[in-house]
């Protein structure tokens, strides 16, 4: 039998073919591996297929970094300040910077334990540096707000630089249902900063006041002044605007805005949760479930502030699918998480990271008659801290569930 020679095996041809395919592929890989080229290409592709028109479409595609998660950067900052404190434990400013980074981590991840770390570290900072320590004061004020201690947050805000104090006044007054004060603070903040964040806060106040035209105008101003590189703000702005449209039944526009927020910050939990809400409302239970799974995957090992909402959403899906046992298990899981944060003495309203309102909603959604009295009691506590429209509506819902119609109407 004749042994085929190398040439008859077609090796030179193979080389030529390999070069013909491999060389362009190598060049493409080399070009593609350059971060700026890759990002540019990705941004261009996404811009082509983006259903959103300006101004809702994010305009700074070229500046989008490849890795858009803020968490690695925050972890580095935490490690940096921890190391400095280890070398010199007397440095109040380092404690304040660390506390501020913990606070940013809390907001980015939605994980409550970062708030506790931020609070403890800010207190340590003030021990070492009791005066002219605005960062530590700011952290304490924001943690007080997160605990729903709004009067306490406002008291602490008095010691803050003006802009931080006004921004905090907007959100705290809004939560307490003091809309005139919130409006005044939002107007001051806008006039002082002309920032996207200020216009977004003003839009929230106007939504609460029942002024949708003004709110939409403020959202548009916010989009007009947004700046590249502030991805968290841009994602938050689009999520908030998406929610605004959701409440008008404009579900496609809301969907596109949530997806744009997710393009800016993949895994951004408020956008995932809100997008799942749209799918749930549309009866697309598989899609909603996938989004909830993504939100859970983002929470790492520690539960986030969104986890109970995710579990309640999943329970709702199972209820609609006719699986009451699974729905009840999910509600129970959410209930356990929420009860960990609610004060143990129900007769007094104590500031805590507790979510009495969400627990009350869960108890009402689950539909067990035995839960309704507790829902009323929880909301009676909550309205001593918060008096915004959704809180009062939940209280009214609890009263209605116990057939206390006259009180519910009041």
């Amino acid at each position: 039998m004749e042994t085929p020679s190398p040439s008859r095996l077609g090796l030179p041809n193979l080389w030529i073919r390999s070069l013909g395919i491999g060389l362009p592929l190598t060049i493409a890989l080399l070009i593609g591996s350059q971060p700026s080229v890759y990002t540019q290409l990705q941004a261009t592709t996404q811009a082509w297929f983006n259903p959103l028109a300006e101004p809702y479409r994010y305009p700074f595609n070229a500046s989008l970094p490849r890795n858009r998660s803020a968490i690695p950067q925050l972890r580095q900052e935490i490690a940096f300040y921890q190391e400095r404190i280890q070398k010199d434990a007397q440095r109040g400013l380092d404690y304040a910077a660390l506390a501020l980074t913990y606070l940013r981590m809390a907001r980015t991840t939605g994980q409550g334990h970062w708030y506790l770390l931020a609070e403890q570290t800010a207190q340590q900072s003030l021990t070492h540096l009791p005066f002219d320590n605005a960062d530590a004061q700011l952290v304490l004020a924001r943690v007080a707000e997160a605990k729903h201690d709004f009067p306490g947050a406002l008291r602490l805000a008095e010691q803050l630089p003006e802009r931080e104090a006004i921004a905090l006044a907007v959100t705290s007054h809004l939560a307490m249902g003091q809309l005139d004060e919130a409006d005044q603070a939002a107007t001051q903040l806008v006039d002082a900063t002309l920032s996207a964040n200020a216009f977004t806060l003003q839009a929230l106040v106007q939504v609460a006041q029942g002024k949708p035209q003004e709110a939409l105008q403020s959202f548009h101003y916010a989009l007009e002044v947004e700046e590249p590189g502030e991805l968290s703000n841009s994602a938050r702005l689009r999520t908030t605007l998406g929610r605004f449209y959701y409440e008008q039944g404009r579900l496609e526009l809301a969907t596109d805005l949530y997806q744009e927020a997710l393009r800016l910050l993949p895994g951004y939990q408020p956008a995932l949760v809100n997008l799942a809400q749209v799918k749930l409302r549309q009866g697309q239970y598989n899609a909603a479930d996938r989004l909830y799974q993504q939100a859970i995957a983002m929470s790492d090992t520690m539960p986030t502030l969104y986890q109970p909402t995710v579990l309640r959403g999943q329970a709702q899906i199972q209820k609609q699918r006719g699986n009451p046992a699974i729905a009840n298990r999910l509600w129970q899981e959410a209930e356990l998480l929420l009860r960990e944060t609610v004060p143990t003495t129900p007769s007094t309203a104590q500031p805590s990271f507790g979510h009495q309102r969400e627990l009350a909603r869960l108890l009402l959604e689950r539909g067990n008659p035995g839960d309704r009295t507790e829902a009323v009691a929880l909301m009676q506590q909550e309205i001593t801290l918060r008096r915004d429209a959704p809180t009062l509506a939940t209280y009214a819902g609890a009263l209605a569930a116990t057939e206390r119609w006259q009180e519910a109407q009041g």
């Binding site: 002309l194 609460a208 002024k211 035209q213 101003y221 700046e227 929610r243």
Partner: protein, 80 residues
């Protein structure tokens, strides 16, 4: 300082857009809350008041239905 938005004027100087003129007691335009108000008015046998709220719900969100009500409090964003 970011650029000033076109057509924007300092509001402390007095220029404000005209808000919605609404006759209802509730300040909110959240359809889920207004729907709940309608249900409460119905239970109190006040059909005219209930109808007023139902109409407001439809005017704000014509697609509002039972699914919207069930999922109303499963989102985040416009509240604290």
């Amino acid at each position: 300082m970011p650029p000033t938005p076109a057509h924007w004027q300092p509001q402390s100087a007095g220029k404000r857009l005209k808000g919605d003129s609404r006759g209802d007691r509730l300040g909110t335009r959240n359809p889920a809350i207004l729907y709940q108000a309608a249900v409460i008015e119905q239970a109190l046998d006040r059909p005219t008041e209930a109808q007023k709220y139902f109409q407001q719900v439809k005017a704000i969100d014509p697609t509002f239905d039972v699914h919207a009500q069930q999922s109303a409090y499963l989102g985040v964003g416009l509240e604290f």
